[in-house]
Symmetry: C2
Subunit: 222 residues, 2 copies
């Protein structure tokens, strides 16, 4: 198809398609004349993926390029998942730092907590993993806010996260073609966090209604 038809099919303006091409996010079409190129189904799929990453995933063009590079280089379920997981960040913003002494204390406590958790779960995770740093940052922020949670709470959530990861990998393993696999991995990583959070909210809503209906006023007397 011509670029105008590619634009109609995907809803992406011609100028944006050309921009994505120049930025190296999308392979060239097959040249049919000096100023004409033929695009195929792979360009439609790639454009949809770029849209998802930049809108639903909230990624910059540079970050999108990193993810697409990882996708193109992946040759197995595991390496695709691993590469995409490392490339696609989990955003954790942190409050401006206040008292330096308290910050140092909070930092050490959060690091120890993550190390203890990884040991308790027997997780094979290098300390250089971006997810180790991400979780440490999230726990620092919880401590800054004096969030009330116990180490045992974290283990309970980690056990459920392990079950979720098992579902994720089983779904990924069902794919035969590494390219399709890698692209699905990007979709799953970009979209599964909001889906899971929405399922959790719906489940909370149900349990809130049942507990109110049951006359439990939430005073801790359940």
């Amino acid at each position: 198809m011509k670029i105008s038809e590619l634009s109609r099919t995907t809803g992406v303006p011609v100028a944006s398609i050309k921009y994505f091409r120049r930025q190296g996010l999308m392979p060239a079409g097959k040249a049919t004349a000096a100023t004409l190129a033929e695009y195929g189904q792979e360009h439609v799929q790639r454009l949809r993926l770029i849209k998802a990453l930049t809108t639903l995933g909230g990624l910059s063009i540079a970050a999108t390029r990193d993810v697409l590079t990882a996708v193109d280089q992946a040759h197995s379920t595991e390496s695709a998942l691993g590469a995409v997981s490392y490339a696609l960040p989990v955003p954790v913003a942190e409050s401006p730092v206040g008292d330096a002494g308290r910050e140092a204390e909070i930092g050490s406590a959060a690091e120890a907590e993550v190390a203890d958790l990884i040991a308790a779960m027997d997780w094979q995770t290098p300390s250089t993993s971006p997810h180790v740093e991400g979780l440490t940052a999230a726990l620092r922020e919880l401590r800054r806010l004096d969030a009330a949670y116990e180490p045992g709470d974290l283990v309970a959530y980690a056990e459920l996260a392990r079950s979720i990861a098992g579902l994720d990998l089983d779904r990924a393993a069902a794919f035969g073609d590494p390219e399709a696999l890698a692209e699905q991995a990007v979709i799953v990583f970009a979209l599964s966090a909001p889906v899971l959070e929405l399922l959790r909210r719906l489940a909370q809503e149900d349990q809130v209604r049942r507990r109110i209906a049951g006359g439990d006023t939430g005073t801790g007397a359940e």
Copy 2:
């Protein structure tokens, strides 16, 4: 304490504190003279919460005000959780719409899928819940991307989400004071999604390493 000390303690500039006051995000200090006010521990906590909502939660000032209003009006675990959950959105961006016919088909399919899921889970959820619309939007986007998943996959994730919601509500029920409860609910809602996602990523990483070490090349032959 004076406003200068409040600023030092929290790391929030005096100008920002005054801005939050004018925007109605924070109660006034106790007036001690025409131009002086005394601030207490409740202002320190409130400022930390505002910081978390606007940085880690990524909320606008207007959205932060809505959440704080809900927090101040909550009188029980359940109403605090419910109000905060409705006020604190789960962001779901959607791709620009392409073909109108396909969009209509995608929209109907996603709505039916959410209705079926809620029925299958026996969830008590009004159709006006923002989470119903949020999940429908997320599923529309998955369909636009031709994401490969089965209705059964969604139920499996929903079952785990139910367990997570149970942990959430048990933790909330452990609080006695509704004000502290409501504030903790905000913290948990704002911070627990990235924490859960990071735990899931760490668990995936562990399972990826184990499967690669086990020689499973991810061709679906597990």
